[in-house]
Symmetry: C2
Subunit: 405 residues, 2 copies
């Protein structure tokens, strides 16, 4: 039912659509949705902000705004991005209607039907849906626990007969893989792209959601590395730090890319809601973000710990995963002969859902993984969900042994 | 500075861009902006709605929603559109991020680069900007005081070597022309399109803003006429009945067109803000729209009357216009040898701005008109603005006589 079920649907066959329909019923234990938890939204803070807006500002909420964004929000974002080390003064910020619109704008700006886009495999399904709708040819590069496979990336670029328009990556607390690029891997990635003319589209929706203050430095965006030989477009979102319902995102790019992006955005929706931008800006400008993020980190970290604990307790030894250090996701690896989609078909009848591995493969094939999201999960349901899931997987492993023997 | 200045800019030369920059200063008397008046927004009503939302609904404001729209809003819109006689049960509603997004989606769905789109001349600049960004070839058909020129439309369709993808029209309280299609003209238009396979894109942002209850029946949409031989996509907006800052629009179309439109929207911004949809829905569901529209109509009607009165008092007899019966605009006609852009260059230095005629011509040429918007105008400024404008025009007429003689 939610935003990306459509993308999931469009990439899958009738059986999954049916299962999705079943899964939209009541009383489900859902590890599926990649959205924040309803009970964690800063409702009280936004109430306070809204009710103390001066009359003039409140009226402005109802009005059109500039296509590039509400100027005070752009100013607040500058400070926010500067703290991440990003070169805000030499670049321009465009406010977008969610970061998916930023990805859509960049695609519209650079990609014609049949053009090549490079992605990670697995990759964010929302972005894949944008690229597919644009008629792009997606070539995907595997990732490991430290980031994109550099050798595979290099060899892909060398063997392609045309230059890809851009490489799309989500290096921090990857969706769905839950991994974090190491600083070395980020550097190597930039080295491979240097001089190729391939743009890097660096999507960074989760970097504020680290679980351990010591690891904050690992979230440093590649756009802050000062590498002049790679054109980097950096995108971000308020969806994980305020709420997806605001539909607020942004992109930071060179002035040249910004100028055309502004025209493309103009033709998409004229401007992003002033109402949402004004509330979002006050949230930043009144310094409500930092304490709220501290609260969010501890809440999500607690959920991750619970899921990690129960997975360790109940999962058969054949199942492996990396414990995430931030973000929303655990990315379970199944034995090669077990398919995520088959597991799903079983668990959904028992009231447990997740997102199947092949959803995140641009070719909709690789199906030996499953994504568990702990973000939108009542804590007390985690154990029961894991028990049902692990029993189903155990049975599948048993059955496959019988079949194989 | 506002949303469509970009579109205006992109269609015009450096000199107009400069003038626009000058015009964004303070203390201007502006007949330019096609936006509602800040002082007329339903701020108090939205305050009440927001502060009485149940906790669960408030949390939902922050969350993702379905790509097609927030289901209770779709339900409320059904009632609203049913009252206009629209066939809501045989069609599907897609909520969009402003009606400009609906136009953008339809364009994306049907138009490839080089494809032909038919428009009125003059036409809404925001739509023209969408069509141009898509690389469409725009062929425009003149309109008169009763609607599109039927003979010209017919002959255009006959002489084109390819079938246009759609015809885009704004039949009710036209922007910029301020006119209203007669029921006969609407019928003739449908007859011409019947059997051609050309889709009709009927954009209806202003139909609730009639000045006289007796004329309400004239706003009847063509999609309500029951003509099966023409595929009609109907678009509408909350921008004029609630506020552009909400970025809420919608399209009503056949299920087939809806399905693809939903996928296109998914790739544009995933979903429209739940926050804005929930507030918008409560505004409709709590029956706050009708009394608010009554208030709006009387306010805009009063402004129109003032502008009409002062134009009659001060304009030289060579200047003609049709008194609008609703909407936001008066469309002045200059003598053929006087250019709207030249008048603008004069008045802007005296602190009065409007939008030049050629802005609304897809070919950016026809410049014998100027658009005066009375919607966003403090009432007490109207007379002074008209005096400055009419004196400038008088002088231009005098000068042209001297030059001609």
């Amino acid at each position: 039912m939610y935003a990306f079920s459509r993308a999931v649907n469009s990439m899958h066959s009738e059986d999954i659509k049916q299962l999705m329909k079943q899964a939209s019923g009541k009383n489900l234990i859902s590890f599926a949705g990649g959205m924040p938890n309803n009970d964690l939204f800063p409702v009280k803070q936004i109430d306070e902000i809204y009710n103390s807006l001066p009359e003039d500002l409140k009226k402005l909420c109802f009005q059109y705004g500039p296509t590039s964004g509400y100027p005070p929000l752009i100013k607040s974002l500058k400070s926010y991005l500067k703290e991440k080390g990003l070169p805000v003064d030499e670049n321009k910020i465009l406010i977008t209607t969610g970061s998916i619109q930023a990805i859509s704008i960049v695609t519209r700006e650079f990609v014609n039907e049949g053009d090549i886009i490079l992605t990670e495999n697995p990759s964010f399904v929302g972005a894949l849906s944008v690229f597919e709708t644009a008629g792009a040819k997606i070539h995907s590069i595997p990732i490991d626990k430290d980031g994109i496979d550099i050798k595979a990336l290099k060899s892909k670029i060398e063997t392609l007969d045309r230059k890809p328009k851009f490489l799309y990556v989500t290096p921090n607390y990857h969706n769905p893989a839950g991994i974090m690029y190491t600083p070395e891997r980020k550097k190597e990635l930039l080295e491979v792209l240097s001089g190729t003319g391939i743009i890097l589209l660096e999507d960074d929706a989760y970097s504020d959601l680290y679980f351990n203050e010591d690891e904050k430095h690992l979230t440093k965006p590649m756009k802050s590395f000062g590498v002049k030989e790679v054109e980097i477009i950096y995108t971000g979102s308020f969806s994980k730090i305020l709420g997806p319902g605001f539909r607020l995102g942004f992109m930071l790019s060179s002035e040249e890319i910004f100028e055309k992006a502004e025209t493309v955005k103009q033709a998409m929706d004229a401007c992003t809601s002033n109402f949402m931008q004004i509330l979002g800006n006050e949230f930043l400008a009144q310094h409500k973000l930092k304490p709220y993020l501290e609260y969010l980190r501890s809440e999500y970290s607690e959920r991750k710990n619970l899921l990690q604990k129960h997975l360790q307790a109940y999962m058969p030894k054949e199942i492996t995963w990396n414990e995430p250090k931030g973000g929303f996701y655990i990315w379970l690896k199944l034995p090669p002969h077990i398919k995520s989609t088959d597991i799903f078909k079983e668990t959904v009848t028992k009231g447990v859902v997740f997102v199947t591995g092949r959803t995140f493969d641009p070719a909709s094939k690789k199906d030996d993984r499953l994504r568990l999201s702990f973000s939108n999960m009542p804590k007390e349901q985690i154990e029961k969900g894991v028990i049902i899931l692990s029993e189903t997987i155990k049975r599948a492993i048993e059955n496959s042994k019988i079949t194989l023997s």
